[in-house]
């Protein structure tokens, strides 16, 4: 009888231990806590790469891989985005046909505002990104929208990011509008959900896979990811937007990728950028 009791006790504990492992915490609208997520992420990286200052994560893989850092430091003696930046400033300051310009569409004339993007737009009930509002500005002033991934939109965005350099990200999730928190949660879910024939999530490469070789590449850490966009990627040989990178990553998992500025990608950017709150804007950047 004693033995049977002990076996039953053991079996009960097995079930309890498994139930405990699968208990939910922060994964529903009722329980999700963005600030706890942000601190947990910082804690994860501090344990994973001890001694790397949090503020250095704005430099992506170059914060955590000394060999890559050496090459990058050499590259940054003549930053490859400088011409794009100049062109971006010129484009930003060139009036539309109706005489108005980008400065008329944004707070503070569009200068020093990058750290507030993306944001939750209560009236429209959606996440708005900087590139999205650049194109909306054009359309509202009778101009054709720009292609999302590269070229002029990336250059204008690069210039606007440059005017915010050194400003800490301050992404807000208004607590009086549950739709904003839902958008954050959707972005978080997208980041952690496995996709594509290769069964990879964003997190597989950019959380657990940070500085782990994937063939010849070292994926950068998720913390600080959006701070340096738009970027000139050596692989692209030109400047591109964050959503261009999202599309590429999504395709690399052997998925049919979502289009840039799709709602899912904008929510992903909302989540990712909130995770980088407190880190400074350092875009545009240069990456492999």
């Amino acid at each position: 009888m004693k033995t049977i009791r002990k076996i039953l006790l053991g079996a009960g504990l097995v079930i309890l231990s498994q139930t405990g492992l699968s208990a939910e915490s922060g994964f529903t609208l009722e329980t999700v806590d963005p600030e706890a997520d942000r601190l947990a992420l910082q804690n994860y990286y501090q344990q994973r790469f001890p001694g790397v200052p949090l503020e250095d994560y704005v430099n992506g893989i170059y914060a955590i891989d000394p060999e890559s850092r050496k090459q990058w430091d050499a590259l940054m003696e003549f930053p490859p985005y400088e011409f794009d930046l100049e062109e971006g400033e010129e484009l930003f300051n060139t009036p539309f046909a109706n005489g108005k310009g980008y400065a008329d569409c944004f707070d503070n004339g569009g200068i020093g505002i990058r750290q507030k993007y993306p944001y939750w737009n209560r009236e429209e009930g959606t996440v708005k990104t900087l590139e999205q509002e650049i194109n909306e500005c054009r359309v509202n002033n009778g101009e054709a929208p720009l292609p999302w991934k590269k070229g002029d939109i990336a250059k204008i965005s690069a210039y606007m990011a440059f005017t915010s350099r050194g400003q800490p990200f301050e992404i807000d999730i208004p607590n009086d509008d549950p739709r904003a928190l839902q958008a954050y949660l959707d972005g978080k879910k997208f980041f952690y959900a496995k996709r594509g024939q290769l069964n990879l999530s964003c997190a597989n490469c950019h959380l657990q896979g940070s500085r782990v070789l994937i063939r010849a590449d070292l994926p950068g850490p998720m913390l600080g990811h959006p701070t340096h966009f738009p970027v000139v990627r050596s692989k692209w040989g030109e400047i591109g937007t964050l959503h261009r990178r999202y599309e590429g990553c999504h395709r690399d998992s052997r998925s049919v990728p979502l289009p840039p500025q799709s709602e899912a990608f904008r929510k992903l950017e909302y989540f990712q950028t909130y995770m980088s709150n407190g880190l400074v804007v350092n875009g545009p950047g240069a990456r492999k």
């Binding site: 006790l9 053991g10 079996a11 922060g26 994964f27 959900a193 069964n199 049919v256």
Partner: protein, 141 residues
Amino acid sequence: MKKVTMILAAALALPVGSVQAQSFEQAFNQQRALYGKGHTFTYENKTYKTDHPEEVEAMAEPNRTNAEALIASAEAMRVKSAELGYEWRDPVRYLKEAQEALGQGQYRQAMNLAARAKYQARISIAQYEDAEANWQRAAPE
């Protein structure tokens, strides 16, 4: 007391899977991975083959009617996967090639390609369902 402590420790260390019998799905996947399609194996005293349902469908008589039916059901599965936002890269390509094979009267080839597309679309839907249930497991807390 010492025994109870040991049972406690063992219970906590023991993953649930190790006290459960291998499921049919696990057995099938293991045999499939080891021997590929067309292999015969035994599970709980019954005999099975390592063919996916779509491969079984593709074994039907190769004619226009069967090829069209398989292509249509594969396309429906692909559309469902796309609607969930989990469409994989290759099914659309396989289906295009299946249509081309159908046009050339290569019914067996068309059915094999459609079966491959349908299988991938089905697994992508299973991936969606798994992600819905388990996405949070990778998040740091």
